[in-house]
């Protein structure tokens, strides 16, 4: 499979006289294969939008290389721009124009046939409101218009930065099937979102970014498998035996977490082994089930952003990989 999108060692540094230097992107890598729906995940401020903006030539990188559809960008952007549809973080439109005017001006500028305008308006469900001024649109309607503008070119690569932002449940579900359909028709979709349930449903692969660096990537099931840690849930016939069971298991080197009516074990490769161990001590499991992790918990673990009771996690307090050469403050942020 060939890559539609390749990013290697991308760097973007924001310098501010007062606050020093911020590495928004710190040697970031990413690769998206043709025809995939690729999820681009990361905590707030981790650099997703910065990556997409850089990719689209809106901001200049300070280092690294990028290629779209085999062309080096930003140099070749004028050549490939016609094949990329993108929305970057709830795009704004000129508020006094109607949706149809907005799209038709874009279509004109990009030499897209005018008939395409009504097609995409229909596609995103704005057909009957297309004559209204954008100013009068609700958040979700603006978002739909943004998606319409990205689809206008019928692109080979569709980049959507938080497309579900403001969509109603029906809209989110439509967006899900839209992306699936587009991918089936051969389009490659890169979607950044915080709604991980959605991502898990629609994405073939993901890239997870934290503080400007890639912390995980690959097909969704591989990422999940790599971080499931062989978690197993154990219930016993008699709840009062839980303490004894926990005792036995931890004595045998299995990490145990106690819950009121069950135990959670970690790093279990063969659940049968657990069963044997318990039976030897006359404890009988009524349930012994591998726990399938979801993307959300993997994400929280990988980025180290799971909420801790009694603490208020600040942005930029997520995991930094290979960050030894970084400034001393834990979690990065504005360095010297």
């Amino acid at each position: 499979m060939s890559a539609v999108l390749e990013i290697e060692g991308l760097r973007k540094t924001y310098k501010s006289r007062r606050r020093g230097v911020r590495n928004a992107l710190d040697g970031f890598d990413m690769r998206v294969e043709t025809g995939q729906v690729h999820g681009f995940l990361g905590p707030n401020g981790s650099g997703k939008t910065t990556t997409l903006r850089t990719l689209l030539g809106l901001i200049r990188p300070d280092g690294g290389r990028m290629a779209i559809l085999g062309h080096e960008v930003p140099a070749a952007l004028p050549t490939v721009a016609g094949q990329i549809g993108a929305i970057v973080e709830s795009p704004q439109f000129f508020p006094h124009f109607t949706a149809r005017d907005t799209l038709s001006l874009l279509a004109n500028a990009g030499q897209v046939p005018a008939t395409r305008v009504d097609e995409v308006l229909e596609l995103v469900g704005l057909r009957d409101r297309a004559g209204d001024r954008v100013k009068t649109y609700s958040l979700g309607m603006k978002q739909r218009l943004a998606v319409a503008s990205a689809l206008l070119k019928n692109p080979k690569l569709l980049i959507l930065d938080e497309p579900a932002n403001g969509l109603d449940p029906g809209g989110i579900r439509e967006m899900r099937s839209l992306m699936r359909d587009l991918a089936e028709s051969g389009m490659t979709v890169v979607v950044s979102s915080h709604i991980l349930g959605e991502i898990q449903l629609i994405c073939d692969s993901v890239t997870i970014i934290s503080l400007g660096r890639r912390v995980a990537f690959g097909p969704v099931d591989e990422v999940l498998a790599a971080h499931s840690h062989g978690t197993v849930r154990v219930r016993l016939d008699a709840a009062e035996d839980l303490a004894a069971a926990a005792e036995v298991l931890s004595r045998n080197g299995v990490p145990v977490a106690r819950h009121p009516d069950h135990l959670l074990l970690n790093g279990v490769e063969k659940p049968a082994m657990v069963n044997r161990l318990l039976a030897e001590h006359h404890l009988y499991a009524s349930e012994l089930a591998p726990v399938s992790v979801d993307l959300e918990s993997v994400f929280l673990e990988l980025t180290n952003t799971a909420p801790v009771p009694g603490q208020h996690r600040q942005v930029d307090e997520s995991v930094r990989i290979g960050g030894a050469e970084q400034s001393g403050r834990a979690g990065g942020g504005w360095g010297a």
Partner: protein, 337 residues
């Protein structure tokens, strides 16, 4: 090409463009109407009336003078002091003369195409330049501040081409509006001159200089639009251009005037922008140095300084070129976020 047509369409679709255009037309029509009403043709009857008025005024004045002299003589005969009240020699030296009562002064105002149209062109240029400034600033300023520019750059990643095309669209609209309204403006004043004023001595040479004045007006309007465009693009906001304009206006027209007056600088007005705008239209603008005059000693010939339209052209040309260059330079490099 498609981008150029698109940008023209965008510009024409904008509400501000349309509103400003309506205001501009209304304003210009107002000026023309007011002038048409105040102008009255000097028909033989009007001229005769003015002559009669002047004659009557002269006769009245002569009568008053005779009466005054007579009063004065009588007072002198009574042995009173008259110097103070009637002047020396009983004011006999101040006998009114017929030529002191020019019938010209009694004539109503008559619009003279040859003499006044150049000034009328300057008024037109000022109004359209203001239109160009506001429309130019908001055309690109609103695009930046609403994110429209970012959207467009996703479609057309060649930034300089995008900004240049937008500028070209703006300038062609301004040129079109100027030519069209300019033609109407000329026709309107020609009509006023021929029905309610005078078209005397409007020779081919006069038309030529009207044409040149029109070209200078066009240049000023395009420069105003381009500078506003560049400033708004630099500041990514319409308000940037308007703010700079107001700031420069205040500093140049008020601050420098007051400052140079206090400091007693000769020809302080040569540092004021409006001097150059006037010179641009008048072909040369004369500054007088009253600072050098000692008015207590009576009349004085103040020193002169001439500002030519070439100097204005140079100043405006270099200034706007610098601002445009900065706008394009920054456009090439900046992060669009």
């Amino acid at each position: 090409m498609s981008l150029y047509v698109t940008e023209l369409r965008r510009l024409a679709k904008r509400r501000l463009t349309r509103i400003m255009l309506v205001l501009l037309v209304l304003g210009l029509a107002g000026v023309a109407t007011a002038l048409a009403f105040s102008s009255q043709q000097r028909s033989p009857a009007v001229v005769a009336q003015a002559q009669a008025d002047a004659d009557a005024q002269y006769r009245q004045a002569a009568k008053d003078w005779e009466k005054m002299v007579a009063e004065c003589d009588a007072a002198q005969a009574r042995g009173e002091q008259t110097e103070e009240r009637y002047g020396p020699n009983c004011g006999r030296d101040w006998q009114p003369q017929p030529d002191m009562f020019d019938p010209e002064w009694s004539l109503p105002y008559e619009f003279n195409f040859r003499g006044e149209f150049e000034m009328i062109v300057a008024v037109f240029a000022g109004a359209v330049a203001l239109f160009g400034f506001v429309v130019g600033a908001s055309f690109v300023g609103a695009e930046w501040s609403t994110g429209g520019m970012m959207n467009l750059l996703l479609w057309r990643p060649r930034r300089l081409a995008v900004l240049g095309t937008k500028l070209a669209a703006l300038l062609s609209l301004l040129a079109g509006v100027t030519v069209l309204l300019g033609a109407l403006w000329t026709a309107a004043f020609w009509l006023i001159a021929s029905t309610r004023g005078s078209t005397e001595k409007v020779t081919a040479g006069v038309w030529q200089s009207v044409g040149l004045g029109g070209l200078r007006a066009l240049a000023l309007i395009l420069v105003a639009g381009a500078v506003a465009f560049a400033l708004a693009s630099l500041g990514r906001h319409t308000a940037m251009a308007l703010g700079v304009a107001v700031g420069i206006g205040v500093i140049s027209e008020i601050g420098i005037r007051i400052g140079t007056a206090i400091a007693g600088v000769s020809f302080g007005d040569r540092y004021v922008l409006s001097t150059y705008a006037m010179a641009w239209f008048e072909k040369q603008h004369k500054l007088l140095d009253y600072e050098a005059c000692n008015l207590v000693q009576g009349a004085c010939e103040p020193a002169e300084m001439i500002i030519t339209w070439q100097q204005s052209g140079l100043l405006f040309g270099i200034g706007s070129a610098l601002i445009l260059f900065a706008a394009f330079w920054i456009m090439r490099r900046r992060d669009v976020a």
